[in-house]
């Protein structure tokens, strides 16, 4: 089954003429729990460009996680629409959603979320198996991905035998398994010490610069703000501000 979406006109963007990879239109999310209504998102319109490195910031309870779930095709909005690669996520069947998650988006979690009973290599090759790659091919690709994150020698280790930084590197390799064009990172450095965090960030930066992977990253880490293209603040279920880094740097400098 295939879904082809008619292309709409590219939005005029003063800064960038690049392709829009994720677009949300009036995205709202309302949770109802026992009569209590929570407006997690109150209508978010945002465009994220292919090859961009964007940091998302916001205090807890701001709707940041909900925003992530929406643009990561993990949840559907109550109102409004989300387009990933110009495909309306709401129109997709469960199988097509699985396809999308498998190949278009790589997920990196704060707590790594490796499968505990699998070796590093098995963890990396699992999404390939879901994607229908042959075992030989996935082993080859898995090893090269582990080499990319510097863990080629530890392919047979289980998550429990690895440090936090190593686990997160395996998680990055796994997220890259099917060559996704988008990497969705949920505070990838929050559980790591300063030095390991640096390693992870440099890997992400390398992926963004060399492979042109779009990286959307929820973070409180100031180092990440220094390497991203744009920053986005979310507060009370709405976008408070989107700014390019050079603008923010000026501000930060002026505060200092």
């Amino acid at each position: 089954m295939s879904t082809t979406i008619a292309q709409s006109a590219s939005p005029a963007s003063g800064v960038n003429e690049r392709r829009v990879i994720i677009r949300s239109v009036g995205m709202k999310k309302i949770y109802r729990r026992g009569g209590e209504v929570t407006h997690a998102l109150r209508g978010v319109d945002v465009e994220i460009y292919a090859g961009e490195f964007i940091s998302v910031m916001g205090p807890s309870g701001s709707g940041k996680s909900t925003f992530f779930n929406m643009i990561g095709a993990l949840d559907s909005p109550s109102e409004g629409r989300v387009f990933i690669d110009e495909v309306d996520v709401a129109q997709l069947t469960a199988e097509e959603l699985a396809f999308l998650r498998c190949r278009k988006i790589g997920y990196i979690f704060q707590s790594y979320n490796l499968i505990q009973y699998m070796t590093a290599l098995e963890n990396v090759t699992t999404p390939m198996a879901f994607g229908g790659v042959t075992p030989d091919e996935s082993r080859k690709r898995g090893m090269s991905l582990l080499e990319l994150v510097g863990l080629k020698e530890r392919w047979f280790h289980r998550p429990i035998e690895m440090s936090g930084g190593q686990q997160q590197r395996v998680a990055i390799a796994r997220a890259l398994a099917n060559n996704p064009s988008i990497l969705l990172c949920d505070e990838p450095t929050a559980n790591l010490d300063h030095r390991t965090g640096d390693e992870i960030l440099s890997i992400l930066e390398k992926l963004n610069r060399e492979r042109g992977v779009t990286i959307i990253c929820a973070t409180h880490d100031h180092r990440m703000m220094n390497m991203c293209d744009r920053l986005m603040w979310i507060r009370d279920g709405a976008i408070e501000r989107i700014a390019r880094r050079d603008e923010v740097e000026v501000q930060l400098a002026s505060i200092e």
Partner: protein, 488 residues
Amino acid sequence: MKAIDVQSQPLLSFAKTLRIALSGVKYRLFRAMVTVAVISVAMAFLMNILAESLIKKTVADNAQEQIADMRRTDRWIARLSIPQTTGELVEQAASDDTDALTNLKALGQLSDDQAGQLHALSRRALTYLHFFADLDYGRRRVLVGSAESTFIFDRLQEKAAQDQFFQRLSEMKTVRFAGEEADFRAFLTEWPVLRDLTARIRAGQAAAIEAIRGQLQDRSLADALRDAGGAFGDVIRDAGFALDADEAARLTEQVGAVADTAIIDASINDPAMRQAVAARRDIMPGDVTPTVVWNMLRDNNEAAWYLERLIENKFGAADLTATEIAARADSRAHAFLLKQAERATVETGGGLMGIGKRMTWLAFVSMLVCAVGIANAMLMSVTERFREIATLKCLGALDGFIMTVFLIEASILGLVGGIAGTFIGLLIALLRMLAMFKGLLLDAIPLGSLLIASGLSIVIGILLAAVSAVYPSLRAARLAPMEAMRIE
């Protein structure tokens, strides 16, 4: 800009799914063991009652034959004391045993036609008698009052009584009568014929019994029967009862055994004998019970010693030998086992594989408890793997894959638990039955049925696990992938 294709996910191969499920089980071995334990306990219970019932049934079948054999003496004494009841005669006449029918015919001095009529009518009567015998007391009371057996037919002779009977029968929705109403009415009009025929047989039997009693010559009937192979056998045959040589020989043998047993039983109550036994066994005279003495007598040397004491105390045991006494003791022990077996197997029959209705119900309840236990264990397994399942879904796993993983996991647990439980249940059943029936068990192990039962309980184990895992695995499959994002 280009149009984007989104295709469906390919399904993962079963082998890969199985491998993932297996490594999941291996990783959570302890939880898996607990679930296996739940399943194996339930399966052990099922297998245990299945195996025990199957063994009991075989034992009961064997025992009933032997007990019927053992009661030959009682049967003959009864037969030679009073005429049979009409019900008994009807049952006998309805059987396809031509010898029995010929004997009845001779006793009642019936013609061939009458004998044929007797057989045909008795067969019809028997179906109705079975119907009334199977009714519970309350219903029978409503339908035919206090009448029992063939007296029911007497009671229903009047047309008014018949009408009332069918009226009440039609009000009992759950009762199915043994035949058509018209047939029964027709039979009732013919019943006097059958009753007269049986009355003639009864009269013949009474005359024969009278003739035999005249030949007893002050002996008791039991005493006289010791000679069943000889002159007294001829007396019985002359009177009109069928007694072939084979039956006579067995009867003589058994009556002899009963008499010998009676002598020893009497001797055990004798103070002098008791004291002698107490001294030999080094126990108190009060502890010399029939069981102790009979157990002692199974040994040939002890039997020989006891025989000397018997003769010493003039118990009229001159024609006994030690081997005979030991043999009597053995057959008494055997008879005791048989009676025990008969008592222990009262409940068998009916229900699943003949394990009895109560046991079927118990097994069903235990399966239910087990299913809840498995469902609980699988739900726990799902709950503690929320993050893992959600992550797999983020990586592109289909709902079907997640569900298959959990169903496979449950089936593996069911298989292991089923095999373990079946083995345990069988072992316990064999040990328990060995303790209960001792020597009787060896001839009564129904290997074929036990194998079928084992296969059945393993299959039930797998099915039970799989069925109870359906809901948990459905929950796992429906889990939202965003659960993976949640921070503990």
